[in-house]
């Protein structure tokens, strides 16, 4: 009985932390960057813009704010898509790129850089090819008029491999002095060029995340397997489409503004599982919150650790891996025993 009374408070505290944390991290990240600014100026630029120098105003409002907001949304999108895919595919090892989104987007970016000189076309092409990859995965996995989760994963793996090969071809034909470095940097992921115009991508990301959030109770039933989910009263096809569609929208728009960032979509859901359990009711919002925090922090490190900016995709893996191992030991794997 004591536990029953203690629990709601505990839950309320965790909920509050998950809501506040991303905002706090975004705010924190505004104080750091290449151009040194005293913290008073940063505060002034945020709250009293009339009483601060133009340089501080531009640095904080035009550079740091859009960058931090983009990183938060991308992190949230990748993490929540990974968590949703893990339930739909009943496989704790899949990530947000399982249906070929990353490699499709990579190929799209290559096409834009090599054929159309990069720039704005990169975003359009990488988004379109990311979505195309998922559609192709669904078709590749379609056997006798139905797509099962296993054949869909198979389709995703095949399409990923295909686009990965296509990326290699594009690298091979790209101009080694101008285009190849651009491709390489794009594939490693970066928020360096983010400005307000990129924040259009927040609309599809938000829509995709909403689709996953409203499906979160049904994700529990879906993770029991298609047959059991159906007998529990879930229209399996419809909800699979909603979740996969939402996740595709999320990841495609995330990847198209900042390049491929792996790792987040696999590990953040697992960190959330270890901390808060596997119920998708909490796992989905927790993945959004932790994904946002994680990527904002990683971007903060990427631009302040060394003189030159580090590619965030690499940094995520470098910093994320030891942290994950630490957490695995600390929580004794949660309940993965």
């Amino acid at each position: 009985m004591q536990q029953a009374t203690a629990k709601p408070n505990h839950r309320a505290a965790k909920t509050a932390a998950l809501v506040v944390l991303p905002f706090a991290v975004v705010l924190l990240s505004l104080f750091f960057g290449r151009y040194p600014l005293p913290w008073r100026d940063v505060l002034a630029a945020i709250f009293t813009p009339a009483r601060v120098s133009d340089a501080a105003l531009v640095t904080v409002r035009q550079l740091r704010v859009p960058r931090a907001v983009a990183a938060a949304f991308v992190g949230a999108s990748l993490a929540v898509s990974g968590a949703a895919f893990q339930s739909v595919f009943r496989n704790p090892l899949v990530n947000s790129g399982i249906l070929g989104v990353s490699n499709g987007a990579g190929f799209g970016a290559c096409v834009a850089i090599v054929c159309f000189g990069g720039g704005a076309s990169t975003y359009v092409f990488s988004f379109l090819f990311a979505v195309l990859a998922v559609v192709l995965s669904a078709f590749a996995g379609r056997i006798s008029k139905t797509t099962t989760t296993i054949t869909l994963i198979l389709g995703g793996t095949i399409v990923s491999a295909f686009f990965s090969a296509m990326v290699s071809i594009m690298k091979y034909v790209a101009d080694p002095y101008s285009q190849l470095p651009t491709i390489t940097f794009w594939l490693m992921g970066s928020f360096a060029s983010i400005n307000y115009s990129h924040l259009t991508a927040l609309i599809p990301m938000t829509a995709g995340m909403l689709a996953i959030v409203i499906s979160r109770w049904r994700l529990n039933a879906l993770s029991m397997g298609e047959k059991e989910a159906a007998t529990l009263g879930v229209d399996v096809r419809r909800w699979q489409c909603i979740v996969v569609g939402g996740a595709t929208l999320c990841t495609a728009s995330a990847v198209c503004i900042c390049g491929t960032i792996g790792w987040v979509g696999l590990v953040i859901p697992h960190i959330a599982r270890m901390l808060l359990g596997n119920n998708n009711r909490t796992l989905i919002p927790a993945s959004i919150s932790l994904g946002a925090c994680f990527l904002v922090l990683m971007d903060l490190l990427a631009r302040s650790l060394t003189g030159a900016e580090l590619p965030i995709g690499i940094l995520c893996a470098l910093v994320g891996t030891p942290f994950f191992v630490y957490l695995l030991k600390k929580t004794k794997g949660g309940v993965w025993r």
């Binding site: 339930s87 049904r218 529990n220 047959k227 007998t231 529990l232 009263g233 359990g277």
Partner: protein, 270 residues
Amino acid sequence: MILTIDRLTFSFDDAPLLRDLSLNVDAGEIVCLLGPNGSGKTTLLDCILGFHRPTAGSVTLCGKEIGAYSRAQLAKCAAYVPQQHTPTFPYTVREAVRMGRTAHAGLLGAPNKEDEAICEQALRQVGMEAFADRPYTSLSGGELKLVLLARALSQKARLLVLDEPTASLDFKNEMRFLETLARLARQEQIGILMATHALQHAFYFESQALPVNAVLLSRGKPAITGTPQALLTPQTLAEIYGVRAAVHEVTGEHGETMRSLTLFGSMEEQ
């Protein structure tokens, strides 16, 4: 009548697997679906759960033809306990049982206070309330089956469909499961349709003075229906299962008559 199957025929290809099958399940009644491997037991259950469409005949559940149900409506009338469940994520027992309320919830599928009370009750009905906060991946096979039964009960369906629920359980867990089913049929007036290989299950329910019927399937032939006592004789066992067997009467703990089965051997193929 909860479930009425009228002259159902089902075939995957040209040769019908189920032919002209009729059966009824009434409130509080237990129907044991028997038959050798490949005789169509699971296929019949899949027809009732809406996964297969009958080639001919009708399946009527709670007064409505099965094809007219949405998934959510069907889940409120018929609950299912699978033969095998492979857990992927370590949900707690309580979370796993709550998934049974998915069909009853609103747009988002979120359970409310009433749903939670129903789940606690379902856990008590199967005697697993002490395990509510344990991860359901840490349970033994017998405990997991009881949790899946609790999940089905939380659907508050009038028909319970079970596919060889005791196939992998030891004696004690098997008896515990059967006792739970008998109690549910008697106290909650749930209709139970259960595919099983164990003929003694039918005998057990009969000895408990519950209304029991056995349906004996054999591939492509018309099914035969009757009380276990009348139906499960050495002659039919020889005919359908191809075994030499004897059925004896034994006096139970409380002086009741129970039937028991002894197998002598398999018959030569003709």
